[in-house]
Protein backbone atom coordinates (compact mmCIF):
# COMPACT_ATOMS: atom_id res chain seq x y z
CA UNK A 1 0.00 0.00 0.00
CA UNK A 2 1.44 3.29 -1.06
CA UNK A 3 0.43 6.33 0.91
CA UNK A 4 -1.01 8.95 -1.41
CA UNK A 5 1.10 12.05 -1.72
CA UNK A 6 -1.06 14.87 -2.88
CA UNK A 7 1.58 17.52 -3.39
CA UNK A 8 4.63 16.19 -5.11
CA UNK A 9 7.80 17.56 -6.53
CA UNK A 10 10.81 16.70 -8.61
CA UNK A 11 14.28 17.88 -7.68
CA UNK A 12 16.30 19.49 -10.43
CA UNK A 13 19.40 21.55 -11.03
CA UNK A 14 18.71 25.13 -11.96
CA UNK A 15 17.81 25.24 -15.61
CA UNK A 16 20.40 27.82 -16.65
CA UNK A 17 23.29 25.79 -15.24
CA UNK A 18 26.36 27.46 -13.80
CA UNK A 19 25.67 31.18 -13.47
CA UNK A 20 28.45 33.75 -13.43
CA UNK A 21 27.04 36.83 -11.76
CA UNK A 22 27.12 40.13 -13.59
CA UNK A 23 26.22 42.44 -10.74
CA UNK A 24 22.85 42.85 -12.42
CA UNK A 25 19.70 40.83 -12.64
CA UNK A 26 20.77 37.30 -13.62
CA UNK A 27 18.29 34.61 -14.65
CA UNK A 28 19.03 31.44 -12.69
CA UNK A 29 16.08 29.12 -13.16
CA UNK A 30 13.11 28.99 -15.53
CA UNK A 31 10.01 27.27 -14.22
CA UNK A 32 8.72 24.34 -16.26
CA UNK A 33 5.38 24.65 -18.01
CA UNK A 34 3.16 21.68 -18.75
CA UNK A 35 1.41 20.94 -22.04
CA UNK A 36 -1.69 22.79 -20.91
CA UNK A 37 0.38 25.92 -20.32
CA UNK A 38 0.26 25.62 -16.53
CA UNK A 39 3.49 26.80 -14.93
CA UNK A 40 5.13 24.89 -12.11
CA UNK A 41 6.29 26.50 -8.89
CA UNK A 42 9.70 26.03 -7.30
CA UNK A 43 11.42 26.11 -3.92
CA UNK A 44 15.19 26.54 -3.71
CA UNK A 45 16.70 23.62 -1.80
CA UNK A 46 20.42 24.21 -2.18
CA UNK A 47 22.68 27.09 -3.17
CA UNK A 48 26.35 26.74 -3.97
CA UNK A 49 28.36 29.89 -4.59
CA UNK A 50 32.08 30.16 -5.16
CA UNK A 51 33.35 33.65 -4.64
CA UNK A 52 36.87 34.70 -5.62
CA UNK A 53 36.11 38.31 -6.39
CA UNK A 54 38.31 39.76 -3.66
CA UNK A 55 35.60 40.52 -1.14
CA UNK A 56 32.25 39.32 0.13
CA UNK A 57 29.39 39.22 -2.37
CA UNK A 58 25.78 39.70 -1.37
CA UNK A 59 23.29 37.45 -3.12
CA UNK A 60 19.64 38.37 -3.45
CA UNK A 61 17.23 35.81 -4.87
CA UNK A 62 13.90 36.88 -6.27
CA UNK A 63 11.94 37.25 -9.45
CA UNK A 64 10.86 39.95 -11.88
CA UNK A 65 7.85 42.16 -11.44
CA UNK A 66 6.68 43.53 -14.75
CA UNK A 67 5.14 46.59 -13.14
CA UNK A 68 7.93 47.61 -10.77
CA UNK A 69 10.97 49.70 -11.66
CA UNK A 70 13.55 48.34 -11.19
CA UNK A 71 11.76 45.12 -11.88
CA UNK A 72 13.70 42.82 -9.55
CA UNK A 73 11.68 41.71 -6.52
CA UNK A 74 13.62 40.11 -3.70
CA UNK A 75 12.09 36.98 -2.14
CA UNK A 76 14.83 35.68 0.16
CA UNK A 77 16.86 37.71 2.65
CA UNK A 78 20.37 38.66 1.60
CA UNK A 79 22.96 35.90 1.68
CA UNK A 80 26.61 36.84 1.98
CA UNK A 81 29.12 34.71 0.09
CA UNK A 82 32.55 35.00 1.68
CA UNK A 83 35.60 35.44 -0.50
CA UNK A 84 37.59 32.35 -1.61
CA UNK A 85 35.03 30.06 -0.05
CA UNK A 86 32.58 27.63 -1.55
CA UNK A 87 29.52 29.00 0.20
CA UNK A 88 26.79 26.40 0.66
CA UNK A 89 23.24 26.79 1.87
CA UNK A 90 20.98 23.75 2.07
CA UNK A 91 17.28 23.29 2.70
CA UNK A 92 17.99 23.39 6.44
CA UNK A 93 19.07 26.99 5.98
CA UNK A 94 16.71 28.17 3.26
CA UNK A 95 13.08 28.99 4.05
CA UNK A 96 10.64 27.28 1.73
CA UNK A 97 9.80 30.38 -0.27
CA UNK A 98 7.85 29.26 -3.30
CA UNK A 99 8.61 30.94 -6.60
CA UNK A 100 5.39 31.26 -8.51
CA UNK A 101 4.03 33.12 -11.48
CA UNK A 102 2.01 35.50 -9.38
CA UNK A 103 1.76 34.27 -5.83
CA UNK A 104 4.20 36.12 -3.63
CA UNK A 105 3.09 38.35 -2.08
CA UNK A 106 -0.26 37.96 -3.80
CA UNK A 107 0.57 40.47 -6.47
CA UNK A 108 -0.21 40.02 -10.13
CA UNK A 109 2.45 40.42 -12.76
CA UNK A 110 5.27 38.43 -11.18
CA UNK A 111 7.25 36.37 -13.66
CA UNK A 112 8.09 33.62 -11.14
CA UNK A 113 11.38 32.52 -12.67
CA UNK A 114 14.27 32.69 -10.21
CA UNK A 115 16.65 35.62 -10.62
CA UNK A 116 19.80 36.50 -8.73
CA UNK A 117 20.95 40.03 -8.03
CA UNK A 118 24.54 39.90 -6.80
CA UNK A 119 26.55 42.80 -5.43
CA UNK A 120 29.50 41.98 -7.66
CA UNK A 121 30.28 40.27 -10.92
CA UNK A 122 32.11 36.96 -11.44
CA UNK A 123 30.82 34.91 -8.51
CA UNK A 124 29.75 31.43 -9.60
CA UNK A 125 26.36 30.12 -8.50
CA UNK A 126 24.31 26.96 -8.98
CA UNK A 127 21.10 25.85 -7.33
CA UNK A 128 18.99 22.82 -6.68
CA UNK A 129 15.25 23.36 -6.75
CA UNK A 130 12.12 21.36 -6.07
CA UNK A 131 9.51 21.93 -8.76
CA UNK A 132 5.84 21.37 -7.99
CA UNK A 133 3.20 20.75 -10.61
CA UNK A 134 2.92 18.20 -13.36
Amino acid sequence: MVTPVLRTMIRKPNSVGLVQTTGGNDLVHVLGTNRSGVTRTAIIRKILCYNNTGGPVTLQFGTRDFAAVPNFVQYLPDLVAQNTLDNIWTEVDIPAVEFSVQLLPLVLGREGNIYLLASAALALVTLEVDEFGS
Binding site: V16, T33, S36
Partner: protein, 185 residues
Protein backbone atom coordinates in the same frame (compact mmCIF):
# COMPACT_ATOMS: atom_id res chain seq x y z
CA UNK B 1 2.05 -17.59 -12.05
CA UNK B 2 -0.29 -14.86 -10.96
CA UNK B 3 -2.42 -13.32 -13.62
CA UNK B 4 -3.19 -9.64 -13.41
CA UNK B 5 -6.16 -7.58 -14.26
CA UNK B 6 -5.60 -5.32 -17.21
CA UNK B 7 -4.57 -2.19 -15.33
CA UNK B 8 -3.73 -3.59 -11.90
CA UNK B 9 -2.28 -1.03 -9.55
CA UNK B 10 0.82 -3.09 -8.85
CA UNK B 11 3.82 -4.67 -10.53
CA UNK B 12 3.30 -5.68 -14.11
CA UNK B 13 2.45 -9.34 -14.66
CA UNK B 14 1.09 -11.41 -17.52
CA UNK B 15 -2.59 -10.96 -18.26
CA UNK B 16 -2.98 -14.68 -19.15
CA UNK B 17 -0.90 -17.83 -19.29
CA UNK B 18 0.44 -19.98 -22.12
CA UNK B 19 -2.33 -21.95 -23.84
CA UNK B 20 -4.98 -19.66 -22.44
CA UNK B 21 -7.19 -17.64 -24.72
CA UNK B 22 -7.49 -13.96 -25.49
CA UNK B 23 -10.09 -11.82 -27.20
CA UNK B 24 -8.32 -8.70 -28.42
CA UNK B 25 -10.06 -5.51 -29.52
CA UNK B 26 -8.58 -4.40 -32.81
CA UNK B 27 -10.06 -2.87 -35.94
CA UNK B 28 -13.34 -2.34 -34.10
CA UNK B 29 -13.95 -6.00 -33.37
CA UNK B 30 -12.95 -8.74 -30.98
CA UNK B 31 -10.53 -11.29 -32.41
CA UNK B 32 -9.75 -14.62 -30.78
CA UNK B 33 -6.25 -15.90 -30.07
CA UNK B 34 -4.52 -18.61 -28.10
CA UNK B 35 -1.24 -17.78 -26.38
CA UNK B 36 1.63 -19.98 -27.53
CA UNK B 37 4.56 -18.27 -25.90
CA UNK B 38 5.29 -15.49 -23.42
CA UNK B 39 8.55 -13.83 -22.57
CA UNK B 40 9.35 -10.85 -20.40
CA UNK B 41 10.95 -7.67 -21.65
CA UNK B 42 12.63 -6.36 -18.50
CA UNK B 43 13.74 -2.78 -18.13
CA UNK B 44 17.01 -2.70 -20.01
CA UNK B 45 19.24 -0.38 -21.98
CA UNK B 46 18.03 -1.54 -25.38
CA UNK B 47 14.54 -0.37 -24.54
CA UNK B 48 15.56 3.12 -23.50
CA UNK B 49 15.15 5.46 -26.45
CA UNK B 50 16.14 9.08 -26.91
CA UNK B 51 13.62 10.86 -29.09
CA UNK B 52 15.97 13.79 -29.70
CA UNK B 53 18.67 11.45 -31.01
CA UNK B 54 16.10 9.44 -32.94
CA UNK B 55 14.99 12.52 -34.82
CA UNK B 56 18.52 14.00 -35.03
CA UNK B 57 17.07 17.19 -33.58
CA UNK B 58 20.16 17.96 -31.48
CA UNK B 59 18.26 19.80 -28.77
CA UNK B 60 14.67 20.39 -27.80
CA UNK B 61 13.61 23.91 -26.86
CA UNK B 62 11.27 24.57 -23.91
CA UNK B 63 7.71 23.73 -24.89
CA UNK B 64 8.84 22.13 -28.16
CA UNK B 65 7.46 18.79 -29.24
CA UNK B 66 8.84 15.73 -31.00
CA UNK B 67 6.00 14.41 -33.14
CA UNK B 68 5.04 10.77 -32.77
CA UNK B 69 7.79 8.49 -34.04
CA UNK B 70 7.77 4.83 -34.88
CA UNK B 71 10.10 3.31 -32.33
CA UNK B 72 11.93 0.27 -33.62
CA UNK B 73 12.05 -1.61 -30.32
CA UNK B 74 8.28 -1.38 -29.99
CA UNK B 75 7.50 -2.73 -33.44
CA UNK B 76 5.53 -5.96 -33.57
CA UNK B 77 5.36 -8.91 -35.91
CA UNK B 78 2.17 -10.60 -37.08
CA UNK B 79 0.35 -12.47 -34.32
CA UNK B 80 2.55 -10.90 -31.70
CA UNK B 81 1.27 -8.87 -28.78
CA UNK B 82 3.36 -6.37 -26.86
CA UNK B 83 2.23 -5.56 -23.34
CA UNK B 84 4.15 -2.54 -22.14
CA UNK B 85 4.51 0.06 -19.44
CA UNK B 86 6.72 3.09 -19.86
CA UNK B 87 8.42 5.94 -18.10
CA UNK B 88 10.49 9.03 -18.82
CA UNK B 89 14.00 9.73 -17.58
CA UNK B 90 14.26 13.37 -18.63
CA UNK B 91 11.87 16.17 -17.81
CA UNK B 92 9.58 15.62 -20.79
CA UNK B 93 6.03 14.37 -21.21
CA UNK B 94 5.69 11.37 -23.51
CA UNK B 95 2.65 10.79 -25.69
CA UNK B 96 1.38 7.61 -27.33
CA UNK B 97 -0.30 7.22 -30.71
CA UNK B 98 -1.25 4.34 -32.92
CA UNK B 99 0.42 3.97 -36.29
CA UNK B 100 -2.24 6.16 -37.93
CA UNK B 101 -1.56 8.96 -35.43
CA UNK B 102 -4.71 8.11 -33.53
CA UNK B 103 -4.08 9.47 -30.05
CA UNK B 104 -4.04 7.04 -27.14
CA UNK B 105 -4.64 7.84 -23.47
CA UNK B 106 -7.03 10.37 -24.89
CA UNK B 107 -10.37 11.24 -23.37
CA UNK B 108 -12.36 13.75 -25.36
CA UNK B 109 -10.79 16.71 -23.59
CA UNK B 110 -7.16 15.97 -24.40
CA UNK B 111 -4.34 13.48 -24.63
CA UNK B 112 -2.71 12.38 -21.39
CA UNK B 113 0.97 11.60 -21.24
CA UNK B 114 3.68 10.16 -19.05
CA UNK B 115 6.10 12.43 -17.20
CA UNK B 116 8.39 12.50 -14.16
CA UNK B 117 5.42 12.97 -11.86
CA UNK B 118 3.65 9.83 -13.11
CA UNK B 119 5.59 7.31 -10.97
CA UNK B 120 5.17 9.51 -7.90
CA UNK B 121 1.42 8.97 -8.03
CA UNK B 122 1.57 5.57 -9.72
CA UNK B 123 4.81 3.86 -8.62
CA UNK B 124 4.25 0.71 -10.70
CA UNK B 125 3.29 2.74 -13.77
CA UNK B 126 0.09 0.74 -14.08
CA UNK B 127 -1.72 3.63 -15.73
CA UNK B 128 0.89 3.70 -18.50
CA UNK B 129 -0.05 0.19 -19.69
CA UNK B 130 -0.69 -0.28 -23.39
CA UNK B 131 -0.89 -3.18 -25.83
CA UNK B 132 0.09 -3.37 -29.46
CA UNK B 133 -1.16 -6.23 -31.61
CA UNK B 134 0.86 -7.07 -34.71
CA UNK B 135 -0.41 -8.15 -38.08
CA UNK B 136 -3.60 -6.12 -38.33
CA UNK B 137 -4.36 -2.65 -39.62
CA UNK B 138 -3.38 0.05 -37.21
CA UNK B 139 -0.45 -1.74 -35.59
CA UNK B 140 2.76 -0.30 -34.11
CA UNK B 141 2.99 2.51 -31.62
CA UNK B 142 4.18 6.02 -32.22
CA UNK B 143 5.87 7.81 -29.36
CA UNK B 144 6.32 11.55 -29.11
CA UNK B 145 7.20 13.98 -26.35
CA UNK B 146 7.00 17.59 -25.24
CA UNK B 147 9.73 19.41 -23.35
CA UNK B 148 8.00 20.63 -20.18
CA UNK B 149 11.21 21.36 -18.28
CA UNK B 150 11.49 25.08 -18.91
CA UNK B 151 15.02 24.58 -20.23
CA UNK B 152 16.68 23.51 -23.46
CA UNK B 153 17.35 19.79 -23.17
CA UNK B 154 19.80 17.62 -25.12
CA UNK B 155 18.08 14.29 -24.46
CA UNK B 156 14.49 13.07 -24.20
CA UNK B 157 14.81 9.54 -22.89
CA UNK B 158 11.89 7.18 -22.47
CA UNK B 159 11.93 3.53 -21.44
CA UNK B 160 9.63 0.57 -21.98
CA UNK B 161 9.24 -2.79 -20.27
CA UNK B 162 6.69 -5.55 -20.11
CA UNK B 163 5.90 -8.79 -21.94
CA UNK B 164 5.81 -10.17 -25.44
CA UNK B 165 3.20 -12.78 -26.35
CA UNK B 166 3.21 -14.99 -29.44
CA UNK B 167 -0.35 -15.79 -30.48
CA UNK B 168 -2.21 -18.27 -32.63
CA UNK B 169 -5.40 -16.91 -34.23
CA UNK B 170 -8.59 -18.76 -33.46
CA UNK B 171 -11.65 -18.95 -35.67
CA UNK B 172 -13.94 -18.17 -32.75
CA UNK B 173 -13.50 -16.43 -29.48
CA UNK B 174 -13.02 -19.03 -26.76
CA UNK B 175 -15.66 -18.98 -23.99
CA UNK B 176 -12.94 -18.52 -21.38
CA UNK B 177 -11.06 -15.86 -23.32
CA UNK B 178 -9.55 -12.89 -21.54
CA UNK B 179 -10.69 -9.64 -23.14
CA UNK B 180 -8.22 -6.82 -23.66
CA UNK B 181 -7.96 -3.70 -25.80
CA UNK B 182 -5.03 -3.48 -28.17
CA UNK B 183 -6.15 -0.55 -30.24
CA UNK B 184 -8.26 2.37 -29.28
CA UNK B 185 -10.90 2.09 -31.95
Amino acid sequence: MDVANLYDNGPISCIAQIKEHLAIWSEQRWIGYQIEYIEPVPRSSAFIIDLIALTAAGILAPGATVAGQIVQVLQVSSNELVHSRWFVIDDVEGQLWQLSNFARFAPRGGQAGVNLFTPIYDPWLATTTFWVLGGLGDKDARIGCTNISGAIIPQARLGFFGYRYSLQPEAQIHPNARYLPAQGR
